[in-house]
């Protein structure tokens, strides 16, 4: 398969690297409205053809797949255009600016009979896949509640870019800073929730004012509570101020509870006090230590097998997406889940909108 990437910013490197790694498709072209950006990407990835117009790239290079890695307000137009030109499309998150946009892309894909994927990569981390198996096998019983946190480092390279530039595209998103990451959080929990989902949201700015109205309008702390039809709840913290920067999820089930740390790639069952009295409190720390040690050993094994890349999860996701294109599997992220994530984001944006 011949692949082209549109949008030659930072995340395009992740796509290119993992495409190379899975070896299922040949990256042949890069497109960016800024010719210098297409040039640098092309040079760094071994002399790809360079374009400033996606349609021209698709036609000239006879592409089978287009990866869309541009700012989100361009996703609907680019994805639909590529689909209508006969390409399968893999879209960077956020999939669209809102639910209506997400629906347009999916309807377009279905109308032309092409596959559309989205980079909801964290469900494809090794421990997240293990969690999926535990849930499917009923090892946790019925899910009662989920807690999840996602840290956003405003002092990091990306954070600085957002904070120092009122014209950065993040400020144009309806949900601003959170809109750029919240689908990572929601994509993890949506499969555990039944429709309809009620959303409660609260956001605020904790950092001092910068004096720039646009930058200061951006909240940096978000709290969510989701409740589904059956009373299952999800509490979410997306924050910029808690240290260390976390990315974790705890799933409480009627049989067992597990904690998944996406950054450390560990999945451990929560400690259980099986013995009475003070003795009962003596064992859990050692049991947990042993469980973490086993995670560490597994990770070491994965490293030895070269399966511990920083973007390993994206590698798995792309492999499955290309399987789906070749008719060898289902969509790795079902269309219904993409739409449900988009609908909840709409609900969050609505909940956070200023009221008269």
């Amino acid at each position: 398969m011949r692949v082209g990437i549109v949008g030659c910013g930072k995340i395009a490197d992740g796509h290119a690297e993992q495409l190379r790694a899975i070896g299922r498709a040949q990256l042949v072209a890069a497109c960016d409205r800024e010719p210098l950006m297409a040039e640098q990407f092309s040079q760094r990835w071994g002399g790809l053809a360079q374009y400033a117009d996606m349609a021209e790239m698709v036609l000239a290079e006879r592409l089978d797949v287009v990866h869309v890695a541009t700012p989100p307000d361009s996703h609907v137009a680019l994805a639909c255009s590529a689909l209508e030109m006969g390409c399968h499309v893999f879209v960077e998150k956020p999939f669209a600016m809102d639910g209506a946009g997400a629906r347009r892309i999916i309807d377009c894909a279905n109308a032309v009979g092409r596959k559309v994927g989205v980079n909801y990569l964290y469900n494809f981390e090794t421990p997240a896949l293990e969690l999926g198996r535990l849930l499917a096998d009923g090892d946790l019983g019925e899910v009662v509640h989920v807690e999840t946190c996602y840290g956003y480092n405003l002092a990091g390279d990306y954070g600085i870019a957002v904070m120092s530039d009122p014209a950065h595209w993040v400020h144009r998103l309806p949900g601003k800073l959170f809109h750029n990451v919240i689908d990572h959080v929601l994509a993890k929990v949506v499969p555990m929730l039944a429709e309809p989902v009620v959303v409660w949201a609260d956001a605020r700015r904790m950092r001092p004012a910068s004096g720039d109205a646009v930058v200061d309008a951006m909240p940096d702390e978000l709290r969510l509570l989701l409740r589904d039809r059956d009373g299952r709840t999800v509490s979410v913290m997306v924050g910029s101020h808690a240290r260390p920067i976390g990315h974790a999820m705890k799933v409480y089930g009627t049989r067992d509870t597990v904690e998944l740390d996406y950054a450390a790639r560990t999945l451990v069952r929560s400690a259980r006090q099986d013995q009475p009295s003070a003795v009962g409190r003596l064992f859990p720390a050692w049991v947990q230590a042993w469980r973490f040690a086993r995670c560490g050993m597994r990770n070491l094994g994965a490293f030895g097998r070269h399966e511990f890349h920083y973007f390993q999860c994206m590698r798995v996701l792309l492999d499955r997406f290309y399987d789906a294109i070749e008719g060898r599997g289902d969509d790795p992220v079902p269309q219904a889940e993409i739409l449900r994530v988009a609908a909840i984001i709409d609900g969050i944006v609505d909940a956070l909108a200023p009221r008269p």
């Binding site: 210098l36 040079q43 390279d157």
Partner: protein, 335 residues
């Protein structure tokens, strides 16, 4: 002559502003990406009450903001560049920003462009051990083998040459070695890197091409006013220490490190292994050190500042004093 200084809020830029005014520039526009840092403007105006000093905020990535930035300017001193972030970010902030600036400069009729380049653009791989590294060494065609920063800075220089040919700007390029001083980083990767609780000493006996930030700023100012059109100037100080001497000075004045010396041959061998592992593991570890990088950056060379001296530049802060001030700042003790 009205001079625009881009990147005036940066580590080097702040000092360049002072040096330009000291050198006699009396009409200076300072470019900042956001708000000017601290009391920089007040300090400059206090020391140079007769000079006209303006501040102008603009993001060089937005071309529409730049005509106003360069309006009325005769000379641009371009010190802004992307120093951190991803390869794409660094390239955008260095090369796309420069292209936008030069486009605006061409329209506004700017006469002269002085650019702060980098040592990283030189194609030094072929130099013999102990050879003199001066401006006669050719620059890279692309520079991609030496990493994202070198790639961006190399493209930036080629871009300046293209615009010089198209629009007839006078151009001067300053190529500083390792700029250091209070407020800067402790270690250039030429000296070594910290990892796993150790400091891997890489440069060892190789000469470290240091330039104290105020000396470098003086060089930029000197070249702005007197630099020969079309020329490039290396910027290094006199009495350069070796990487090992710098490291020993750091340990004596700032703090002890658990140092692991890496001989050149072992470093080269390790770089070969890393590249091989990177390929076999499909990128599980990044190939930050390649044999090309090791041969280009870690082979012992001697560095010349003769061209800069011929221009009239003299080192204001002696190397020993510069090192003492830097180590004092790094150790957190008050001056």
């Amino acid at each position: 002559m009205k001079v625009l200084l881009t990147g005036a809020g940066g580590f080097l830029g702040r000092c360049v502003a002072h040096s330009l005014l000291e050198a006699g520039v009396d009409d200076l526009r300072l470019h900042f990406r956001g708000a000017p840092p601290g009391n920089l403007l007040d300090a400059l105006r206090r020391r140079h009450p007769d000079a006209r000093i303006e501040a102008s905020a603009a993001n060089l990535l937005y071309a529409c903001d730049l005509p106003a930035l360069v309006n009325g300017v005769e000379c641009i001193v371009h010190a802004a560049a992307g120093m951190r972030g991803s390869a794409a970010d660094m390239f955008a902030n260095t090369v796309v920003g420069t292209r936008n600036l030069l486009d605006a400069a061409a329209v506004e009729g700017v006469r002269r462009v002085v650019m702060v380049g980098s040592f990283s653009v030189y194609r030094t791989e072929g130099l013999a051990r102990g050879a003199v590294h001066d401006e006669s060494v050719p620059i890279e065609a692309v520079g991609i083998e030496k990493g994202a920063y070198a790639h961006a800075k190399t493209r930036q220089e080629h871009l300046l040459a293209e615009y010089r040919a198209r629009f007839g700007f006078e151009t001067v390029v300053l190529r500083p070695g390792v700029i250091y001083g209070p407020g800067g980083g402790a270690f250039s990767s030429r000296v070594g890197i910290r990892a796993m609780g150790l400091f891997f000493s890489l440069g060892r006996g190789a000469e470290l091409p240091l330039t104290y930030v105020e000396n470098c700023a003086d060089a930029v100012a000197r070249a702005t006013l007197h630099g020969v059109d079309g020329r490039a100037y290396n910027v290094v100080d006199d009495d350069l220490p070796s990487c090992g001497q710098y490291l020993r000075g750091y340990q004596a004045r700032v703090g002890r490190l658990r140092v692991l010396p890496v001989p050149y041959w072992l470093f080269l061998l390790g770089a070969r292994c890393l590249v091989r592992y990177h390929r076999v593991s499909k990128g599980q570890l990044p190939a930050v050190f390649t044999p090309y990088v090791v041969r280009s950056m870690y082979r012992p060379l001697r560095h010349s500042n003769a061209a800069l001296k011929a221009l009239g530049w003299r080192q204001r802060v002696p190397t020993q004093a510069g090192l003492a001030r830097t180590f004092q700042a790094l150790s957190g003790t008050p001056p």
